[in-house]
C-alpha cells in the first residue's frame, strides 16, 4: 500500500463511498474502485492508504482491495452517528402563497 493520506482531514463522504462500493462488491481492484466511486485514481490511492492505516481495508495477494470488519463497522457507526443528528430534525410544511 502506498503511504500518504488525503491532504487534510479526509472527507467522510468519500470514505463512505469507498466502503459502500466495497460492501457491494466484496473486493475490487483500484481501477474498478476508482470508476465505481467516481474518484480520480491518485485521490483514491491516498484515501486507501489512509483507510489501510486505520484498518478499514486490506489488499489481497491479487492486489484487490478488501473491506475489513472494522471498515464495515465504521460505516455502520457513521450511519448511526449522522442519523443521531438528522433524525431529530422536523421540517415544517411550507407552501408559498403569491
Amino acid at each position: 500500500m502506498n503511504s500518504g493520506e488525503p491532504s487534510s482531514k479526509p472527507d467522510l463522504y468519500v470514505i463512505a463511498r469507498i466502503i459502500k462500493a466495497l460492501k457491494e462488491k466484496n473486493k475490487m481492484n483500484k481501477t474498478a474502485l476508482a470508476t465505481s466511486t467516481g474518484l480520480a485514481y491518485d485521490k483514491l490511492v491516498k484515501y486507501l492508504a489512509w483507510m489501510y492505516e486505520k484498518g478499514f481495508v486490506e489488499v489481497d495477494e491479487n492486489g484487490a482491495v478488501v473491506l475489513t470488519k472494522a471498515g464495515a463497522e465504521a460505516y455502520d457507526e457513521l450511519v448511526q452517528w449522522i442519523m443521531r443528528y438528522v433524525g431529530q430534525l422536523k421540517f415544517p410544511r411550507l407552501r408559498l402563497r403569491t
Binding site: L12, Y13, E73, W81, I82, R84, F91, P92, R93
Partner: protein, 236 residues
C-alpha cells in the same frame, strides 16, 4: 486496529441508511421551498415598483382630470366613468405585480439534488457536509422577511382598491338614487375598506402568519442542526 468511536452526548438511535437519505431528501425539499421564497425576495422590488407605480399613475391621472374638471363622480356619469377607469389602473398594477411574482417563483429550479441523492447514504452525507449552512440560514431569514413585506404590500394594495371602489360605488349610489353628492365620509370608507379586506383576506393572512411562524421554527431547527453538526466529531 483503531475502532470507530462516536463523540456525542445525544440520544442513541438505530436507524438505517435509507432513513438518513429520506431525512436529507426532506431537508432538501424544504430548502427547495426556501429557494422559492428567495425568488419572491428577488422580485419584491419590482413588485413594489409595479404596484406603487400603478397607484402613482392613477393618482396623477386623477389630479390631471380634476384640474381639467373631468373627474367629479358627484356631478356627472362621465365623471363616474373616469373614476372607474382610475380604479382599474391600480387593480391592473396589482394583477400584473402578482402575476410577475408568481412567474418568478414558478421559474425557480428545484430538485437538482435528486440525482445526486440517488447515490444513497454517501451522497446524503456529502450533501450535508457540503451545504453552506450560514448562507442557507441567511436565505431563510431573508425569505421570511420578504414574504412578510410582500404580504403587507399586497394587503395594502387590496385595501386601497377596496377603498377606491367603495368611494366610487357610494358616490354613484348617492348621485343616482339619493341625488346627494356623497353618503359616506372618507374615514368611514377607510374603516369599511379595512373590514372588507380583512373579511376577504382573513384566511389568507392567517395562513401567511402560520407560514412565517413555520419558517421561524425551521430557522431554529437548522441553526441547532448546523451547530451540532459542526461541533460534533466522528472519530476513527
Amino acid at each position: 486496529m483503531a475502532q470507530p468511536k462516536i463523540k456525542s452526548g445525544m440520544k442513541d438511535q438505530m436507524l438505517s441508511e435509507e432513513s438518513v437519505v429520506l431525512k436529507v431528501s426532506e431537508l432538501m425539499e424544504t430548502l427547495d421551498h426556501i429557494k422559492r421564497y428567495n425568488a419572491l425576495s428577488r422580485s419584491l422590488k419590482k413588485f413594489a415598483f409595479i404596484v406603487i407605480g400603478s397607484i402613482a399613475i392613477s393618482l396623477a391621472v386623477g389630479i390631471i382630470l380634476a384640474i381639467l374638471g373631468l373627474e367629479d363622480t358627484a356631478r356627472s356619469p362621465q365623471g363616474f366613468f373616469y373614476g372607474f377607469m382610475l380604479l382599474l389602473i391600480p387593480l391592473a398594477g396589482l394583477a400584473v405585480g402578482v402575476f410577475y411574482v408568481r412567474r418568478q417563483v414558478n421559474a425557480t429550479k428545484t430538485g437538482e439534488w435528486k440525482e445526486k441523492l440517488s447515490g444513497g447514504f454517501p451522497s446524503a452525507l456529502e450533501i450535508l457536509m457540503e451545504l453552506d449552512w450560514d448562507k442557507t440560514l441567511d436565505e431563510i431569514s431573508m425569505g421570511k422577511l420578504s414574504y412578510t413585506i410582500y404580504g403587507l404590500l399586497k394587503t395594502a394594495a387590496y385595501w386601497l382598491v377596496a377603498f377606491l371602489s367603495l368611494q366610487l360605488v357610494a358616490n354613484a349610489f348617492a348621485l343616482y338614487f339619493l341625488h346627494k353628492p356623497a353618503i359616506i365620509g372618507s374615514v368611514f370608507s377607510v374603516a369599511f375598506a379595512l373590514i372588507i379586506v380583512l373579511l376577504v383576506l382573513g384566511k389568507d393572512l392567517l395562513r401567511r402568519y402560520k407560514e412565517i411562524h413555520a419558517m421561524d421554527m425551521l430557522l431554529l431547527e437548522l441553526r441547532w442542526f448546523s451547530l451540532e453538526l459542526r461541533r460534533a466529531e466522528f472519530q476513527t
